[in-house]
């Protein structure tokens, strides 16, 4: 497979995962704003922006309406839904012949939906239906991808993109949340919000009952190996997809090593030990490792030096 094509598939998946993540954050936030709580909406918005890496926004104002609008429509903000979906579509256009027609059509449909919403006058400040559409559109795309594309090398690059983005986004979200609330059990609503932001509330309840406690939330979102939106689950799948790629004359040794180490560290970790040594620094190290994996991935498959690959 051409390196450029692999890169395109990888970024297509990352951008879509990003769109879905942002849509979920906004949805949960708008929902929380309806309830009165000790924490003001302003602080929550600040936290959301921090968890998205404090993206540059077009607007100076920090009220709910303009922030919602920016995080959905601001193309210059790399975490906004529209920017992410446009990015995904641009990448898929480059690799049009490698993805199924059904995938292309669904992504196109999603693109036109969000663009149409942008053009409509009288933007609805409570855009639940719209966010739901984005959500469903992303889910549908994933289902179509799994059902209509050969599970070949290209598909593995899609898995890698999706899961690396998920590990990074979830770890940043956990990071900002714990920095803010520590183990404050009073912030009940906020913990539920965090779980909801990872669509994990129901899964958590099945596991621990509705007794929402900070340490358990942390343990669940970090170490549960059965629920798709936890860090460990995504890291496992990231490693498996990397392992399924061709060897590439040994150039891939490093990326496999890094992904294997991340997986192993999460598999054998104990929640209490992590907490004792500092949860935030553990999350930071996960983010650093993801950066290294991304880098090693390009070195192995995409931007490798010509000299290293001349024997092929």
């Amino acid at each position: 497979m051409l390196s450029r094509v692999a890169d395109g598939l990888y970024w297509m998946a990352r951008y879509l995962e990003r769109a879905e993540h942002t849509a979920r954050l906004i949805e949960v936030q708008l929902n929380l704003m309806l309830d009165q709580s000790a924490y003001s909406a302003d602080e929550r918005w600040r936290r959301i922006l921090a968890s998205l890496g404090d993206p540059k926004l077009n607007t100076e104002s920090r009220d709910a309406q303009s922030l919602t609008y920016s995080l959905i429509f601001d193309r210059s903000c790399r975490s906004s839904i529209v920017a992410a979906i446009v990015g995904a579509r641009e990448n898929s256009r480059q690799v049009r012949q490698q993805i199924s027609s059904e995938m292309w059509e669904q992504l196109n449909r999603l693109f036109h939906q969000v663009r149409r919403a942008d053009l409509e006058e009288g933007w609805d400040p409570q855009p639940h239906d719209f966010l739901l559409q984005v959500h469903e559109g992303c889910h549908l795309f994933q289902g179509i991808t799994d059902g209509t594309m050969s599970h070949n090398e290209g598909w593995q690059f899609i898995q890698i993109g999706r899961h690396i983005e998920r590990v990074m986004a979830t770890s940043k979200l956990l990071d900002t949340h714990y920095r803010e609330f520590g183990d404050d059990e009073q912030a009940h609503l906020e913990w539920i919000g965090l779980l909801r932001s990872c669509t994990a509330f129901e899964a958590y309840c099945k596991y621990y009952t509705a007794d929402v406690r900070p340490d358990r939330v942390a343990e669940f979102l970090l170490l549960n190996d059965e629920f798709p939106h936890t860090i460990r689950f995504a890291a496992d799948h990231l490693e498996a997809a990397l392992k399924a790629l061709p060897d590439g004359d040994g150039r891939c040794a490093r990326v496999r090593l890094l992904a294997g180490r991340l997986k192993a560290s999460l598999s054998f970790a104990q929640a209490d030990e992590i907490m004792a040594q500092g949860f935030n620094s553990y999350l930071h190290s996960i983010q650093t490792q993801c950066g290294q994996i991304d880098d090693a991935l390009r070195q192995a498959y995409i931007d490798y030096p010509v000299e290293s690959a001349l024997t092929a």
Partner: protein, 487 residues
């Protein structure tokens, strides 16, 4: 003949001076159109409308599009397709096929000669300055031996039909001809929409084109490369023919690459894959000469591959088509093609040229300047219907503008009589009406064998009275049926 004498759905049908594909001047139906004609009379209006919708939908869903330039992003448009086929008899086709083969072989010899000894110039058949003043002449190609001496691999020649029924060559496209994907996809749609009619007419198949193209490219691999890797080089998603590039790559099962996928090392070309560098032997390039290698040609090109031309010179890669072919489809050199055929093959041309006046010849230029309102003037290096003056449809200002241009740069202009393209029945808003058409057959040449799939792309000027068939300017296409002889 009053229009009311036509039965529906032919009420709007008109005959004029142009050759009509379906009707003889006395309104008799030409025999090879008999089946289609009867079908049109028998099919209820609603039924036709339904089939038209089915065809449009099929084009839409397959994403058969082209890009119109001139806006910020380039707009993807569905390629307009007319519902009714254009029909050619076996006898007509045999002559076209022989004529095209003759022309391609002669032009290929011409290119080899021009870039080597230049005998035809020494013998004074083609004026030397005509070649060296051509903006598509590539001095870098001088003395370079191309694999199997094949310069022209893929051709799309434009034919028109004179009022007397003769097929004439209007233009040879020897650089990067496009449109073949519309021929192939158009056929698929027609088979789905008119299965019974298709079968009843005994139409020759064209589906082998991608395989024939692949085989031709394979045959042209550099010497000693037994199992060559073949790629299609595209300028990228913003090119107007990107749909065609992806379509052909998929149909042939070869990689679709961009310049940035390719690297040169030690005069060998590789593509960058996830499994490492893979050597490339043959490039079917859909990118213009100028952009192919920034080191050898336009230095500002970011579409090409630095060093590619050295690989070519070293004989480690085959480019299809070869570089520098533009001199042989230059619109002024065109006037010499009958002489070129005679010179290399000692044969008379099977297909005639359209009468052409060269503005570089003072006597002919005078004639052109005096008859600007009657002639079609064309810039020699342009294509796609750009840079043209259609005399009878032009204003005085436009004529003056072209007069100045011609006097400034006579070599750059030729003129031809206003062409009478033939007309064929088209399905327009529920009625069958006559519209002007041309024909672009696709020809493949590997140095030994000329392959022409029976048919080609019939382009149609969908606007009433229009003579411009280019898709960028309101043209569409028709499926082209070459019939088996009756047993």
């Amino acid at each position: 003949m009053p229009a009311t004498s036509w039965p529906p759905p032919f009420r709007q049908y008109e005959l004029d001076d142009a050759y009509d594909e379906m009707f003889a001047p006395d309104q008799d139906v030409r025999s090879h159109y008999g089946t289609l004609h009867q079908r049109l009379l028998d099919t209820p209006v609603e039924e036709m409308r339904r089939r038209k919708q089915a065809a449009d939908l099929a084009f839409l869903h397959q994403g058969i599009t082209f890009t119109v330039y001139g806006r910020d992003e380039g707009i993807e448009k569905i390629f307009p397709n007319d519902l009714l086929p254009r029909i050619i008899t076996q006898g007509e086709w045999t002559k076209i096929e022989r004529g095209l083969a003759q022309r391609i072989v002669a032009l290929n010899l011409f290119l080899k000669d021009i870039y080597h000894e230049g005998k035809i110039l020494n013998d004074g058949i083609v004026p030397r300055e005509m070649i060296y003043s051509c903006k598509h002449y590539r001095r870098q190609m001088k003395g370079l031996d191309v694999p199997r001496d094949v310069y022209i691999t893929v051709v799309g020649t434009d034919l028109i039909r004179h009022p007397d029924g003769r097929y004439l060559v209007l233009e040879d496209n020897l650089r990067v001809p496009s449109g073949v994907s519309y021929m192939l996809t158009g056929r698929q749609v027609m088979k789905r929409v008119f299965p019974e009619l298709f079968q009843a007419c005994r139409v020759k198949p064209i589906e082998e084109y991608p395989q024939a193209l692949l085989q031709t490219l394979r045959n042209l691999a550099p010497h000693g490369r037994m199992d060559p890797t073949i790629v299609l080089l595209t300028p990228g998603v913003f090119n107007s023919a990107y749909f065609e590039h992806t379509y052909l790559a998929r149909q042939m099962g070869i990689e679709l690459v961009e310049g940035r996928d390719l690297v040169v090392n030690d005069n060998v070309l590789y593509m960058r894959t996830t499994a490492g560098l893979r050597r490339v032997d043959v490039i079917y390039r859909r990118i213009d000469d100028d952009f192919i290698d920034p080191l050898a040609f336009r230095p500002d090109s970011i579409l090409g591959v630095p060093g590619l031309f050295n690989v070519y010179r070293a004989g480690n890669i085959t480019l299809c088509n070869a570089l520098g072919n533009g001199i042989a489809d230059d619109k002024a050199v065109y006037a010499y093609v009958p002489a070129i055929i005679k010179y290399y093959l000692n044969e008379d041309p099977i297909l005639d040229n359209v009468e052409t006046f060269l503005c570089s010849n003072p006597a002919q230029m005078d004639y052109v300047l005096q008859n600007l309102d009657k002639l079609v003037v064309k810039a020699v290096g342009e294509s796609g219907g750009y840079g043209m003056l259609i005399g009878p449809h032009s204003t005085k200002e436009q004529q003056e503008e072209f007069r100045r241009k011609i006097i400034d740069d006579p070599r750059n202009y030729i003129a031809q009589p206003t062409l009478m393209l033939s007309r064929a029945p088209c399905y327009i808003d529920g009625q069958v009406e006559a519209r002007h058409i041309d024909l672009r057959p696709y020809i493949l040449y590997d140095g030994k064998k000329v392959t022409t799939v029976p048919g080609g792309l019939t382009r149609v000027a969908l606007r009433k009275g229009s003579l411009v068939v280019n898709s960028s300017q309101g043209g569409g296409s028709k499926d082209t049926w070459v019939l088996h002889d009756k047993e």
